[in-house]
Amino acid sequence: MSLFTIGRLCVKLAGRDAGKKCVVVEEIDNTFVLVDGNVRRKRVNTKHLEPLKETLDLKAKASHEQVKAAFETLGLSVWDKKSKQSTERPRRIRAIKEKVAEAKKEAKVKKEKKTEATSKETPTKGIEATVTKETETEEKPETEKPEETSENQEVTEQQ
């Protein structure tokens, strides 16, 4: 009678999974055993295993999911295959850059317009006549001027 019957909890002593817990899933031979759990599912020489007290209720050739369920009842973690995810190569995306540049330009134009508007509103009435020039924004001050003047006239009349 070997100790390594189906469902026996063991610790691996050799290889990269050494020091981790596993369960015997299948008896292959006198010397070899199929093992699963917190290790890679593998055929293992019993010389590389150290049996523990506990046994789990498992069928012969139990799947990895059944082993996982049994391990979680004991509060043990299970090794899972990490499938590699190909990460995208970092690339400069031109379209976005151009968009950003356009947005910046628009913002600049808006600012300029604002500044022009403010500069034309601020000057005093005496200088306004000299400031008016042949720019595109001439129409606005022209429309504003008569209103202002009419208001001023009204004010003067009231006085």
Partner: protein, 90 residues
């Protein structure tokens, strides 16, 4: 005559033949000693003998065996240590 710093034996010598037929001496840094098991003092397999600057250029998986105490203990000493730990827990 070589300079004083080259006479101490701190650096290893490399004899290089020049095109004129003479041999000159180049000096290189010595390699570190081989890695040994911390328990039984055996030489470790799978640990390259390189200067630390060159080791950083090697991938980590090529620098030591991928197992607990890899690059510190040899495999037999590691097994003994694991067995001890497991049996103490029992």
């Amino acid at each position: 005559m070589p300079r004083g710093m080259y006479k101490s034996g701190r650096l290893r010598k490399i004899f290089v033949k020049t095109p004129g037929g003479e041999s000159t001496i180049h000096y290189r840094q010595r390699k570190p000693s081989k890695a040994i098991c911390a328990d039984c003092k055996k030489q470790l397999a799978g640990v390259p003998r390189e200067l630390p600057g060159k080791l950083t250029k090697i991938p980590k998986t090529a620098r030591r065996p991928d197992r607990p105490y890899g690059g510190v203990l040899c495999s037999t000493c590691m097994r003994k240590k694991l067995l001890q730990q497991v049996r103490e827990e029992k």
